[in-house]
């Protein structure tokens, strides 16, 4: 049982719902934030039935101008999760800068704005955690998804710096790098090779366990760490000729 308050930013994502269910089983108080109030209510009712106490705020997390007000509404909380994001189409990003800019804003800039405020709040309290869902795509720029990769790469770097600063204040920052997860976000992507695709429940339980152990950077499932080790070790003059 816990009287922890967990803030779920992007609560209607597939991964967020799976994680919130894990947290609900511990009887936590969950503060849910997402754009769509109808979906938010549906997620909230489910979590309440599963044992959580739920508060919800409908808000567009990509709208940086609204962040101050949102933080006021959420108020004091010890544990934060950043789930929200989009998976943009790379060719659309190349042809149309507005689409790329939007992807960078949603996935990185707006998250950095929130992390700044969260970081300041937790640093002042001297305790707490923030767990951020980044991606293995942020480990190396590849032709097939470098706009998304750049956003996630920047996010990982930002979290790394934040971790460095906040460790002095006893605040834990965890970067989560999932590989392929079978959720609505990836519905249009063929699930091949099948062995690399996992359900969100698997990633959720990895994340909750890792956070309780105070891990800094996790790859989930575990084997992605080694896949990325190999990918990152390929020299640039060779990698640039590949079509990954």
């Amino acid at each position: 049982m816990s009287d922890k308050i967990e803030v779920i930013l992007g609560a209607t994502s597939g991964l967020a719902q799976a994680t919130a269910r894990e947290l609900a089983a511990t009887g936590a108080t969950l503060v849910l934030v997402a754009r769509d109030s109808v979906k938010l209510a549906q997620v909230g009712s489910d979590l309440e039935a599963r044992g959580a106490t739920v508060r919800a705020h409908a808000s567009d997390l990509a709208d940086i101008k609204g962040h101050e007000a949102l933080m006021q509404k959420i108020g004091d909380a010890d544990h934060w999760w950043v789930f929200y994001g989009t998976l943009p189409d790379q060719s659309a990003c190349q042809e149309n800068w507005a689409i790329a800019a939007e992807a960078l804003n949603v996935n990185f800039v707006s998250a950095a704005s929130l992390l700044t405020r969260i970081g300041n709040q937790l640093e002042a309290k001297g305790r707490g955690s923030v767990s951020v869902v980044s991606s293995v795509a942020g480990d190396r720029g590849r032709q097939s998804n470098y706009v998304y990769g750049a956003a996630k790469g920047a996010l990982s770097l930002f979290c790394q710096g934040l971790r460095n600063r906040l460790s002095k204040a006893n605040v834990h920052v965890m970067t989560v790098k999932p590989g392929f997860i079978d959720t609505p976000m990836t519905a249009d992507i063929p699930k091949k090779p099948a062995v690399l695709w996992v359900p969100p429940e698997k990633v959720a339980s990895d994340m909750v366990r890792a956070r309780s152990k105070g891990r800094d950077v996790i790859y989930t499932p575990w084997f992605w760490r080694y896949i990325l080790l190999i990918i990152c070790s390929v020299p640039e003059r060779i990698f640039k000729k590949l079509s990954l």
């Binding site: 489910d46 039935a49 599963r50």
Partner: protein, 435 residues
Amino acid sequence: MSDYRSWGFTPPVTQRAEVPAWREAALAGPHAATGTRLAYGRGRSYGDSCLNSGGVLIDTRGLDRFIAFDRENGLLTAEPGVTLAQILSVIVPQGWFLPVSPGTSFATLGGAIANDVHGKNHHVDGTFGRFIKRFVLHRSTGEVFECTPEVHPELFAATIGGLGLTGMITEATIALLPIKGAGMDVSIETFHGLEAFSALTAKYRDTHRYTVAWLDCASGGRNFARGVYLAANHEEQGSLDVPPVKSKLTFPFALPSWTLNRHSVRAFNQVYFQRHQMLNGQIRPQHYQGFFYPLDAIDRWNRIYGSKGFHQYQFVVPPGAEAVMEAVLRRIVQSGMGSFLAVLKEFGDVPSPGLMSFPRPGLCLALDFANRGARTESLIHELDAMVMEANGAAYPAKDRLMSAAAFQQYFPALNAFSEQVDPGFASDFWRRVSE
């Protein structure tokens, strides 16, 4: 993922799948106009009632949310993809239980309604459909119906046991059973012969909510129709703990198909019977998980039948036709093709609200046959003929072989049901029995 199967490993079929994430958009997927649709839960039906070759399956795994839980009055509203196991994990700690439990807790709420499932308490409580207070049904025309026994009663009656053919359920409300503990008090008696079974049924009928018998379908001679009779009630009080849902054992691969044969089955039955002989006459406490869902502990147990899979056959014969049951059993024993344990149960006369409900008063037997191709099929057709002649019925949730003629005889409300079928929905089962 387009590899959607049924539990009996029927041959893989080609169908497209959609996985809606939100119940309002259940029928709004990309394949909307391209073929007939069918909702798919966890594929625990044995035959082809959950498959739609050439069409679209609407996978409900993303529609697994609870909507409301009235802890005072025991009313639960949930999306169709929630499994019975997930429901139990939420309701048992609050002192509630499922009013009817089928053999697996991995079936979904939607599937339980579509098959109007029954359990060991049929003689007292009837079927699952009796406890459905309301549901919301989406049809291919875009219309949405909130159905109760009084509102849209024809659609309500057609959907219960309607095998998903009237449209897609996006939420349902079920009335729960109050309990004081998660355990069961189970009485065990071994018996020989169907008359002994009838005597035990009469003995326990009025005092025990749950009764069932495991029957040896492989042995003849003096061991013919021996079995183990179980009668149980919820305990008067006890802990309301729920064990973790994940199974600890799994069958990692399909066994070679010769593993299950007449000799290995007989050997298993001998051990099983003798073990229960030692418990004869005792009353044992048992957690509900082991009493209601023994096979759920072994993930993918259907793999013991090998890659060719198996046929399940379940049928009921009306009261007074016990001789037919005996004849069917003798034929099964003679064939040597029956599997380990058959389940024998007396159905009561509590009527179901569903037009196409399978359970009806009489004696019901369910068993598996390893799939040995044509030999198994012709045996099942033979048994179907015997059941038809006795005015009995077979269970679509288990079936892969029922003929159109048999189906029409088994379900006299077929015409009324057909009027409620949504032309945008279909299944392999429906195509087969309505040709």
